[in-house]
Amino acid sequence: MAKVLMKGNEAIGEAAIRAGCLNYFAYPITPQSEVAEYLAKRMPEVNGVFLQGESEVAVGYMIFGAAACGERVMTTSSSPGVSLMSEAISYIAGARCPAVFVNIVRGGPGLGGILPSQGDYFQATKGGGHGDYHLLVLAPDGVQEAVEMTMMAFPLAEKYRGPVMIMGDGLIGQMMEPVEFPENLYVPPSNKDDWATTGMDKRGSTKKNIVKSLYLDPKVLNQNNLTLKAQYEQMKREEIRFEAYNTDGDYQALIVSYGTMSRVCKTAIDNMKEQGLEIGMIRPKTLFPFPEKAIHDAAIKPSCKRVISIEMSMGQMIEDVERSLKGKREVTWFGQCGGDIYTPEEVAEHVVSLLKNN
């Protein structure tokens, strides 16, 4: 298929349809409203469902209701909206329903701003809602990867019967890049007859299905949480994705960075290479599960003197990087979170000054 030039937000909407998700509920919020605008036009063309809910709170439960019926379903929002949806996300995780949430992150806390940010790292990877649960979190670095991750998100959500989040940022949502919609990423929906409320007639069963998250018996609740934990452990074995950049040879410092920020770092690394300075990078593509081993192994290379977590947040991912290094290397943070993004020149300047002071 030929490449088309698309905005990240629109491409995510189209990717959902290509992934066989014909159900979309959302509430407008900058900088992701183009997904809703795009799908408002596009869903009727494919006999799909588009509905603008009255709030992100309600949308979260529209997603829950639809997902509990076993249908592929998605919503998109941005930071304050995802906070409101976090209640439903906890219920969906507890009730074990597959669903896809996209967060086109903007600055926070509170209303924050509308410019790009990665300030929702903790919310996405450590919870957000209440209770013992995780989301599988995919972090694209551009429009093409946003498309691929959106398409992958639905089968992943079904594999683990849980919510999957795509964490982009305002820039990925707003910018246009050429994209291709890879047909081989389409995976037919899994059979959900053993748990989904599809109606007994439809599945030819006399056994009712109940989708719920309430387990008053402590042993049963514990068992449900153990089931979830087993899934998260399986994700750590099977779903970790990352990109290693310029790590084949020796390098004096290792950058850990993801999403838009990692693209800036790549350019900085290329520019430093031209100046004769070798810097490596590990880019997590999954934020949960986190590529702990890859970061650890890259950081302990003898040539590597510094490890820097470069983020569009005030130092959130750095905690996972520290955890990965098990005390063997010190890691420092570099970033900002007001909406401005460091340029490749500023990143390079920072790295050079760190190495000088070493």
Binding site: C69, T197, G199, M200, I210, S213
Partner: protein, 245 residues
């Protein structure tokens, strides 16, 4: 002589956890009888609220989902939009529907979502232990209104049927009661009517059932019925408030 009375097929063979004298059992039975009579059990999905009826999925023998507090209408919306062929009902109490879930019920009704809501109004929070509800009567005592509801501070009780009837979108809105056989017969007719409108993909349908809570009202079941008749019925008049067309 043949069998004249039996458990509806749509009810499970289970003992409920409801208190003695509680009218939830009657409401469950009426909904189940209607499901049986319409022959829709195999394509019905109920949604349980947060509240006394949270375990309703154990008592009905059809598919069920369990919502968060007040969000059942949003879940029902999600379900009906992606599976319009399913028969969907929410079963909600007054704290769930008229307090924390006010936004969801008003917007679902206003969009004319084609599902049915059974609204149990017993003027108090049951499961959490007798706190004040939006439907608690002026002067009525509750654990969070120990000297009785002070309407100067908390406003007047909300009449959901009247409020939803004010929406311009067509719908079926009715209030009946579960206090005596005549009322119960009318309540069943209203529930059946509501499900029939849903079957015909006609409109949103809403049946409020004035109910009792002897435990949290601190009354015997009989006194509770009398108090509801004397106090609730004058403020929450029975009848059909709105019909489509």
């Amino acid at each position: 002589m043949g069998k004249t009375f039996s458990r509806p097929e749509a009810l499970s063979d289970a003992h409920t956890h409801y208190c003695p004298g509680c009218t939830h059992g009657i409401a469950h039975r009426l909904v189940a009888e209607v499901i049986d009579e319409l022959g829709i059990r195999g394509r019905t999905v109920g949604i349980a609220p947060v509240g006394c009826a949270v375990l309703a999925y154990n008592y009905f023998s059809c598919d069920f989902q369990e919502a968060a507090h007040g969000r059942a209408p949003a879940m029902a919306t999600g379900m009906k939009r992606v599976r319009p062929d399913l028969m969907v009902f929410t079963y909600q109490g007054d704290g769930d529907l008229a307090s924390i879930g006010m936004g969801e019920i008003v917007h679902a009704a206003n969009r004319g979502e084609k599902f049915t809501t059974i609204f149990i109004n017993n003027a108090i929070y049951g499961m959490t232990g007798g706190q004040m509800a939006p439907t608690t009567m002026p002067g009525q005592r509750a654990t969070t209104a120990p000297t009785g509801r002070n309407v100067e501070e908390t406003g007047m009780p909300i009449r959901m049927c009247e409020l939803l009837s004010s929406l311009a979108t067509p719908g079926y809105i009715a209030r009946q009661a579960l206090l005596k056989p005549q009322y119960i017969n009318k309540a069943k007719k209203a529930i059946k009517q509501a499900f029939e409108y849903q079957m015909a993909h006609k409109c949103f349908s809403f049946v409020e059932l004035v109910s009792t809570c002897p435990t949290n009202w601190g009354m015997t079941p009989l006194n509770a019925l009398k108090w509801a008749e004397d106090t609730l019925i004058p403020y929450y008049p029975l009848g059909e408030f709105k019909k489509p067309e």
